[in-house]
Symmetry: C2
Subunit: 108 residues, 2 copies
């Protein structure tokens, strides 16, 4: 996977956000989906830890800042139409605020 | 994973859509992210194949209807705040229209 895409080529939506799927790079489990602004993605890439945009609190949200359940970023991928991110991480503790490892613990 | 959530409990957005992460149930690879309306989710559950809502064409989109690259659905999971889906599938052929197995073949 040598091809790289610049941040300017990303298709942020009309709120300036892009969905980010977070996957455990060890177990391959899908942990959560959250949203990133351009700034939160820049911080994520700089700090090597996930930083999202909280739509409810309308501010940057450093994953694990209170829980300690940090996500160390291995790589960030982008899809073919550049409107979704896949963030591969090493998860400390649980991704979900319920204490479960993944937020996807229920079936439809 | 015995807990189940009814479709009425899902948090569709103001366009009536919910993001759906599609993961290969065999390889655990994240294949794509697309959007589902309530109707497309109902069709997906009934038919056992993914049906999405195309935001650009503004109509239901049966994955594989022209390419043959159908996704047979193993299960649909929902996250803790019920605003994202994880669809675990068995992918026929390639998920991406470029011919690649996953849409996430570039790095940021």
């Amino acid at each position: 996977m040598r091809e790289r895409l610049d941040l300017d080529a990303l298709a942020f939506d009309d709120r300036g956000l892009i969905p980010a799927v977070v996957q455990d790079a060890g177990t391959e489990e899908v942990l959560m989906v959250a949203w990133m602004s351009r700034e939160s993605l820049e911080r994520t890439l700089e700090e090597g830890r996930t930083v999202f945009w909280s739509r409810s609190r309308e501010r940057l949200w450093r994953k694990g800042e209170t829980s300690g359940h940090v996500q160390h970023v291995e790589e960030v991928r982008v899809d073919c139409d550049a409107d979704a991110l896949l963030v591969r991480v090493h998860q400390v503790g649980a991704a979900c605020h319920t204490g479960k490892r993944s937020c996807f613990h229920r079936r439809v």
